[in-house]
C-alpha cells in the first residue's frame, strides 16, 4: 500500500505541460500539494474526461488547466455538469500552483485565492517605446 498522499488537485495540460510545471512546483515546494498530472496526448475529449473522472471519483475537486480554449479545459468544464462542486482554473502558471501548494483548508477556496494572486504575478518590466 502506498504512503503517497491523495492528490488535492489535478493539473491537466497539453503534451508535457502538466508534468513539466508540476516538476517545477515540486522542485520549489516539495510534494506538499500532491498534484496528479494528466496529459491530453493521444486522447479525444471523451478520453480526457474518462481519465479526469477517475480522479474526481477519488475526491479531487480542483482541476488546473493550461489553455482556456483547449480540449483540456473543455473536458474539465464538461464534467462540471456531473460534478457541480468541481472548480476549474484555466491559464495555470507556476505562481498559481505554488500558492495552492502552500494553502491549507478547503481546496476550492484555496484554488480561487491562488488564482487571484497568480494574476498579479504576470508582470511586464523594461523595454523602451
Amino acid at each position: 500500500m502506498s504512503d503517497a498522499p491523495a492528490p488535492r488537485a489535478v493539473v491537466l495540460g497539453h503534451a508535457g505541460f502538466a508534468a513539466g510545471i508540476v516538476s517545477a512546483a515540486r522542485a520549489i515546494a516539495g510534494d506538499v500539494a500532491a498534484f496528479a498530472v494528466v496529459s491530453n496526448e493521444g486522447l479525444d475529449t471523451a478520453g480526457i474526461e474518462a481519465v479526469l473522472t477517475t480522479h474526481l471519483a477519488q475526491g479531487v475537486t480542483v482541476v488546473f488547466t493550461d489553455l482556456p480554449a483547449g480540449s483540456t479545459t473543455m473536458a474539465a468544464r464538461r464534467l462540471q455538469r456531473t460534478y457541480p462542486a468541481l472548480v476549474v482554473v484555466t491559464g495555470t502558471n507556476l505562481p498559481l500552483l505554488l500558492d495552492f501548494a502552500f494553502a491549507d483548508g478547503d481546496p476550492a477556496d484555496a484554488a480561487r485565492a491562488a488564482a487571484d494572486r497568480a494574476r498579479q504575478a504576470v508582470l511586464v518590466s523594461g523595454g523602451t517605446r
Partner: protein, 163 residues
C-alpha cells in the same frame, strides 16, 4: 476564399483550432457542424467560452450546414468549417460539390480503430468512407497544424496499421 478550411477534428474547438490555425489564417468564424451540439444550449455555451471575443462560432446541424453553406462561402470573414467525425463531413461533401478539400485534423483512438498517424486513428469503415470521398474527387490530407507536412490520403492509408 473566406471559408478557408473544412476540417474533421473530434475535439471540435480546442487549442490547435483556435490558436494553431486561428492565428495564421486570421479566423473570425468557426462553423461547428454537429447535430448533438446544435441541439444543446449548454454545449454551445461551453464552446463559446473557448474562443476569443473577436471569433464567432456558428452552430449548425448537418442539414443546416448544407442549407447555409453558400452563405458561409460568401461571408468575407476567414472561416473554418468543423465536424467531429468523418460521417458528418461525408454527408456535407455528398450534398455540396463545392467542398473540394478536407483536412483530417484529429481522430483519436477508440476501440476498433487502427493508428495511421500520431493524431489519426481509423476504423475499416472510416477508411472506406474516406476512400469513397477521394474517389469523388475530394482532396483529403491529414495535417494537425499549419506548419506540419500535409499527408495525402493515399500515403496515410498505404502505411502499416497498428492497433
Amino acid at each position: 476564399m473566406p471559408l478557408d478550411l473544412h476540417r474533421i477534428d473530434d475535439r471540435l474547438i480546442h487549442g490547435q483550432v483556435v490558436v494553431g490555425w486561428g492565428q495564421p489564417l486570421e479566423l473570425r468564424v468557426i462553423v461547428l457542424v454537429d447535430d448533438e451540439v446544435a441541439g444543446s444550449e449548454w454545449e454551445q455555451d461551453l464552446y463559446r467560452m473557448g474562443v476569443p471575443p473577436d471569433m464567432t462560432v456558428v452552430f449548425c446541424s448537418a442539414a443546416d450546414a448544407i442549407a447555409r453553406h453558400a452563405e458561409f462561402v460568401r461571408d468575407p470573414r476567414h472561416a473554418m468549417l468543423l465536424t467531429g467525425d468523418i460521417e458528418t463531413m461525408a454527408r456535407l461533401c455528398a450534398a455540396l460539390p463545392a467542398i473540394r478539400r478536407v483536412n483530417l485534423g484529429g481522430i483519436h483512438h477508440r476501440p476498433g480503430r487502427h493508428q495511421r498517424l500520431r493524431y489519426v486513428f481509423l476504423s475499416d469503415a472510416e477508411e472506406e468512407a474516406l476512400r469513397a470521398l477521394a474517389a469523388r474527387g475530394v482532396e483529403i490530407t491529414a495535417q494537425d497544424l499549419p506548419a506540419a507536412r500535409p499527408v495525402p490520403l493515399g500515403e496515410l492509408l498505404a502505411g502499416t496499421r497498428s492497433s
